[in-house]
């Protein structure tokens, strides 16, 4: 018996030595960067056409193979011209004629030179081909695009459009426009069905091999990487090979990273990160210590009201519900204290401090409801800092707390909430709320079952409202139902994330998105303004904002007025910003962007990931 036991132990030990992931022959681990796939397994790994509705960019296609005209450095909010030279030049005052200059000396991965002909062809392809379903918008916009010379593109529009660059430049994740090689695509009959396999683009990597089941994708650095947009602009990307690999569940990704078989992870839960950092001394997140994550994700999370459904059409009712939310608890239970509070309707980004948050700070502190009550509470960040100070040794003075947890949020004040509701005809009996018509008040909060943030906020807010005396519950639905219910207005309150933005000009997101023109009756499908919030002044300001280029200072001026209206009206209420805990394992690769070295944002799943690659350094471990 003893012998058997010894043998077993020996066997186990000998096997334990085989730790590392098995790579194909000829590829060494120290030259390979292993990346996580944001959306998990790729359903159709043969599809490399970025204009097919079912395309996937997160498994390497848009992060290392494709290049956008302008990438964004989301840490600074500045655009980096990758294929283009400088910025689009408006040729007239009405913004209908434009010129774009391209970089010289960039080649497609098959050796053909990248020129203005390719850009003009790609634009006209979008503007004339009906079968590319995502781009019907372009049909109504583009009149003509042509190559003036080898590196200059001339564009003429059917109507004035000051925001042209936002179609070509990545703002969040990636832009609508992806340039394709004319010499390949001009031979295609049906663009929607074209697989584009193998993909030919300008990026520094080419597809080497992939799993027919869609679990892994291997890319190799181009020998002529210096003829890619990245090579021309930033420099040589370090890893020779990049492997995109999806391990599946969070548990498995944690184990893989702890075994150094995954160099970079897309979004862990705070608890998942807690588990990883205890096991892996090489694991690292944005901050060295608490609150760990990268707080600059471009969408704030919170609750959305259906303003077409009474009683949520009454802004004082909405305000009462907000005052019944304890944001400190949301942060603690939902996110382990790792997120920033977001009182504004744009996410709490560093890029927004100067144009919006600082100028509006005194206004928001003095902002009052019609009865004179001042709802803003700048002390909330300090409360959270104090809560975690004993455990993590973080400063608790107001300024540091502000940096870490944002400017503040709305007071948790059930007494004022009660007062507001009673003034609107609601009654409270035996601790339960009744609607003005005498019926008990029931609220269903719809949450997105596949997004942790959305799920947790829905469940916590429902719990808080129950304590306040409303029969509230959370309904978690899958992606398809979540969007469909929003579009048709089949919800009361939900936990979505309409408050997005990354650049000072938020016209394309909450500006145009909350215009009254999108509002449709309940039951009809609307793609934007699902809150069904109608505000004439806001819509007028949005129209005004549309007239200026994104870099125009007027945009910010108008933007501040729009934010004031949103705060007064609260058609949706962001609670916290999104902190992405996107850890890396530094066993094989160093040089990742962190809080102490903020050259880029840790947005591994965005197109701008390629901008990080030249900064990576191998540690030399085998």
């Amino acid at each position: 018996m003893k012998k058997v036991f010894m043998l077993m132990t020996l066997l186990v030990l000998s096997f334990s030595l085989i730790f590392a992931i098995q790579l194909p022959a000829g590829i060494s681990r120290s030259e390979t960067l292993i990346c996580d796939i944001d959306g998990g397994r790729v359903g159709n790994p043969n599809l490399w056409n970025p204009y097919a509705p079912g395309w996937r960019g997160d498994a390497g296609l848009h992060t290392v193979v494709m290049e956008y005209m302008w990438e964004i450095n989301s840490q600074t909010g500045k655009w980096v011209p990758l294929l283009a030279e400088g910025f689009p030049e408006a040729l007239d005052d009405t913004y209908t004629k434009w010129r774009i200059r391209l970089k010289e000396g960039i080649y497609w991965s098959d050796g053909v030179e990248f020129t203005a002909e390719d850009v003009a062809f790609s634009i006209m392809m979008l503007a004339t081909h009906e079968e590319i379903p995502i781009y019907t918008f372009w049909h109504g916009l583009i009149k003509e695009a042509k190559a003036e010379d080898k590196y200059t593109v001339y564009i003429e529009l059917k109507r004035p459009y000051a925001k042209l660059i936002t179609l070509f430049a990545s703002v969040v994740w990636g832009p609508q426009f992806k340039v394709v090689p004319k010499h390949i695509w001009e031979k295609v009959d049906d663009y929607a069905k074209f697989e584009n396999n193998p993909p030919v683009f300008t990026g520094p990597y080419v597809l080497k091999d992939y799993d027919p089941s869609g679990y892994w994708f291997l890319y190799e650095k181009r020998k002529d990487w210096d003829r890619s947009g990245l090579g021309k602009t930033v420099g040589e990307p370090t890893p020779k090979y990049i492997l995109y690999y999806t391990y599946g569940t969070e548990e498995k990704r944690i184990i893989a990273a702890a075994q150094h078989n995954l160099d970079q992870l897309v979004a862990l839960t705070p608890e998942g990160w807690d588990a990883l950092r205890r096991r892996d001394k090489y694991a690292m997140a944005w901050y060295k210590s608490f609150p760990w994550g990268w707080p600059e994700d471009p969408c704030a999370k919170g609750i959305t009201f259906n303003c077409a459904k009474p009683p949520f059409d009454n802004k004082l009712v909405r305000w009462a519900l907000i005052l019944a939310i304890d944001a400190v608890e949301v942060n603690k239970r939902g996110f382990g204290g790792t997120v920033k509070y977001s009182p504004y309707h744009i996410p709490p980004l560093t890029a927004y401090k100067e144009p919006y948050f600082d100028p509006l700070d005194s206004w928001i502190r003095e902002f009052s409801l019609p009865d004179g009550y001042k709802p803003f509470d700048p002390e909330i960040p300090v409360k959270t800092a104090k809560e975690y100070a004993p455990k993590y040794d973080i400063p608790t003075d107001p300024e540091s707390a502000k940096d870490m947890f944002g400017y503040g949020w709305w007071k948790y004040d059930p007494v004022e909430a009660e007062k507001l509701l009673k003034s609107q005809g609601f009654t409270k009996k035996d601790g339960k709320w009744y609607l003005p018509n005498g019926e008990p008040w029931r609220i269903t909060i719809v949450g997105h079952g596949a997004f942790n943030d959305s799920t947790r906020i829905a469940l916590i807010v429902a719990d808080q409202w129950r304590r306040f005396g409303i029969d509230a519950n959370a309904q978690l639905v899958e992606a398809s139902a979540f969007t469909a219910m929003h579009q048709t207005g089949d919800f009361e309150v939900s936990t979505g994330w309409p408050g997005c933005g990354a650049i000072a000009d938020f016209w394309s997101s909450i500006g145009n998105g909350f215009h009254k023109r999108w509002v449709k009756p309940i039951g009809e499908v609307t793609t934007s303004n699902v809150q069904r919030w109608v505000n004439d002044e806001y819509s007028r300001l949005a129209d005004e904002m549309e007239k200026y280029q994104p870099t125009d200072p007027k945009v910010v001026e108008i933007g501040r007025e729009m934010l004031k209206i949103l705060i007064e009206e609260q058609p949706f209420t962001p609670i916290v910003g999104t902190t992405k805990i996107v850890p890396v394992d530094t066993y094989y690769w160093e040089g990742w962007p962190t809080f102490d070295n903020q050259y880029m944002a840790p947005t591994w799943w965005w197109g701008n990931f390629k901008l990080i690659l030249p900064h990576l350094k191998p540690t030399g471990r085998k």
């Binding site: 995502i134 918008f137 969040v172 599946g248 893989a256 078989n261 992606a479």
Partner: protein, 336 residues
Amino acid sequence: MRFTNYLVSRIVTYFVVIFVSMTFVFLIPRFSPIDPVAALIGRLTAQGNYMDATALEAMQKSLKETFGLEGSVLEQYANFWKRILLGGDFGPSYAMFPTSVNKLIRESLPWTIWLLSLTTVISWFLGNIIGAITGFKKDRWYSKVLENIAMIIRPIPYYIVALTLILLLSYIFPIFPMSAGGASIGVKPSFNWTFIKDALKTAFLPALSLVIVGFGWWFLSMDALSRDVAEEEFVSFAEIKGLTENEIMFRYVMKNAMLPQITALALSMGTIFNGALITEIMFSYPGIGMLLYRAITSADFNLMMGIITISVFAVATACLVVDILYPFIDPRVRYR
């Protein structure tokens, strides 16, 4: 004559069942608050694809056309049958447009079939043989131990079993390095030894988890069945006849107790076409269960119908086979 009558009416029922099931499955999603176009737009906006409201509105309209979702439910229903009957085409997948549903199923189904048929058969054999022994020799110490083990394993939720195996054999003792997919990186499906060896190794943990759980189930039911059979008169008669214990066990007890287990096996083989969702999620194993789950969450009606149709066919066929063959196996039952 009686048999022919029975056969004809049973086959008619078979087709009715398939028709009704598929109509049912066709209608339910269309009356639920899910919509493929909304799902695709939701996915694009959720990953942060920056698209302004005007562009989104335009996209919504044209996607509906591209997907062929314009007509009434009745027209879509008629179209569905037309496509199926004229060549078994389920149309394009919506979530992975323009890839066809047939192609997606063809890619995933072999993995499911090979993993699940293997584990079902293994656990069936193990469960039945050991169950027959312990049921017949119920007073031996090993019977009691085995029964207690099975009793405890059986109720553990499957995903806990799976997670424990992963933690134990991939993390604490990394004997089976964690992997995703049906084979290692760079190993492509083909008929050679490298692939088969690799595929076996990758499938080991998921298979082990399925066998553990399946074994508990088959074992407990066989144990109970053979206990009952062992009480029957013909067993006592055989004892009197002076047959050895093993002869009685294999020739009388097992043979008789096996009958309902054969039926159950046939049905289990039918249900493998549902896939094994939790296995596929926990072990990142390719298969039809995850494909179906994704189809539901992304309101991919065509893909949903494709997979469910196969599954309905398989289960209904298994029922048919059982009904027709059972009276041959068990003479106590007559056709009616």
